[in-house]
């Protein structure tokens, strides 16, 4: 029988794969592509889906809603069930800058206000310190950027297991005043039809939108198969040794 030799060679492969995938990020093949080549670019459209039926999702995320009221941007933060996110850190970023512009915190009603220093696209990153993190953006028009026209943007975090906060996906949507930030209304329109509401109850939405590493499927498949064959080799060696004993 030729298989034993084959399996014995598979066992070290499985062990290496096992050790590789048990990295600091847990059992995940997401790191493998970076080792073998550049990671595939993740299209933003995949990560911008808000499941319309949030009730079916057992893990709740944060919804961040930015509204422009006069010169003030108000962030309204709530969990998916509607509970306000109290005491969360809100970090504001100026247009085009990665360094924090100002930090604040949400009050018991989940509100935090901020006055942007100029026009452009401001970002707010809300982190409740308990693994929920969400980013939202708002387009502030040129001076006077307040006035009567307000802008709003909404972000909702898909439940992410294991990598809270590492991958913040942005959902610019919920455009109530398209004139204030037409750019974002457009983004939302591009993003949503990818997995439309009709499809979102199926597994397609599950696999493509809720998995941060959805485009790594071939790698994950290879990892899983390698692990299974490696385990097979281990099991073979184990049982064969027991037979001899």
């Amino acid at each position: 029988m030729k298989t034993p030799a084959l399996l014995r060679t598979m066992a070290p492969l499985g062990a290496v794969l096992l050790l590789t995938s048990l990295g600091p990020h847990g059992l995940s093949a997401r790191d493998l592509p970076t080792a073998a080549g550049p990671p595939p670019p993740s299209p933003p459209a995949e990560s911008t889906l808000v499941l319309p039926s949030g009730a079916a999702s057992p893990v709740h995320g944060i919804t961040v809603r930015l509204t422009l009221e006069g010169r003030v941007v108000v962030a309204t933060c709530s969990y998916d069930g509607g509970t306000p996110v109290a005491g969360a850190t809100v970090t504001w970023f100026a247009p085009g800058l990665d360094a924090p512009y100002q930090t604040g915190a949400t009050d018991p009603a989940g509100l935090s206000a901020f006055v942007p220093g100029g026009p452009g696209e401001w970002r707010a990153v809300v982190d409740d310190g308990m693994g929920h993190r969400r980013e939202a953006r708002i387009q502030v028009s040129g001076p006077p950027w307040g006035g009567n026209a307000g802008g709003s943007a909404e972000a909702s975090a898909p439940p992410q297991e294991g990598d809270h906060g590492d991958h913040v996906h942005d959902e610019p949507g919920g455009a109530e005043h398209p004139a204030a930030h037409t750019e974002h209304a457009g983004t939302a329109e591009q993003g949503e039809p990818v997995e439309g509401p009709a499809n979102a109850s199926g597994s397609a939405a599950h696999t493509h939108s809720l998995e941060p590493g959805g485009s790594d499927r071939p790698w994950k498949l290879a990892t899983g198969l390698g692990l299974i064959f490696g385990l097979t080799g281990f099991a073979y060696g184990f049982t064969a040794r027991r037979e001899r004993a």
Binding site: L27, S28, P58, V59, H206, L221, L231, Y236, T239, E243
Partner: protein
Amino acid sequence: MGRQPGSASVHIADGIIATEICMGANAAALGALYLSGRRVQPEEIPRMGFVGASLFAVSLLHFPMAGTSMHLALLGLGGILLGTRVLPVLFVALLFQALLFQHGGFISVGLNTLNMGAGAVAAGWIWRRSVPGETGRAFLAGFLAILIPAFLMGVEFYLTGYGRGMLYLLSLYAVVASVEGLLTVTAVRFLQHVQPEILQPEPT
């Protein structure tokens, strides 16, 4: 996660069934794994490995159907090829599906193993009956290997308080199960031509 009761999959995600029940099912699954995997012979291991790899990979191929999506599970074929030895194989395949693809759940892996294992073991049992008509047996094995887990899942959802919706969906699962049954017939026919001895139970 997020897998809703409505997708034509027999994988239960985390957070749908109460954690206590899932942990109990995990304990029961461990017992079942021990019973089905004890005294496994080295000669059986390669077959188990390849069936496990097939089970792991095949459920990632999704086909759109009736507004939702379905995927093959090869549970019937696994039961035919492995008999009760399919349980540990299924467990490993489900574990990696949950860990790598969030397909099914990590906490609920024991429950899923028991659900699908029941179908697969039943398929193996049906196949080994000395009833004439191998095609019929193969189809029935593949068919019931899907329908039994779907029924068990429906019962579990009902007991958890999700109503009878899942049980009503059994008609949808019957379609999936028919496809699976036809596939099992094809695979069994093929194996009968190519390597008939693989369809016989392992000498233990």
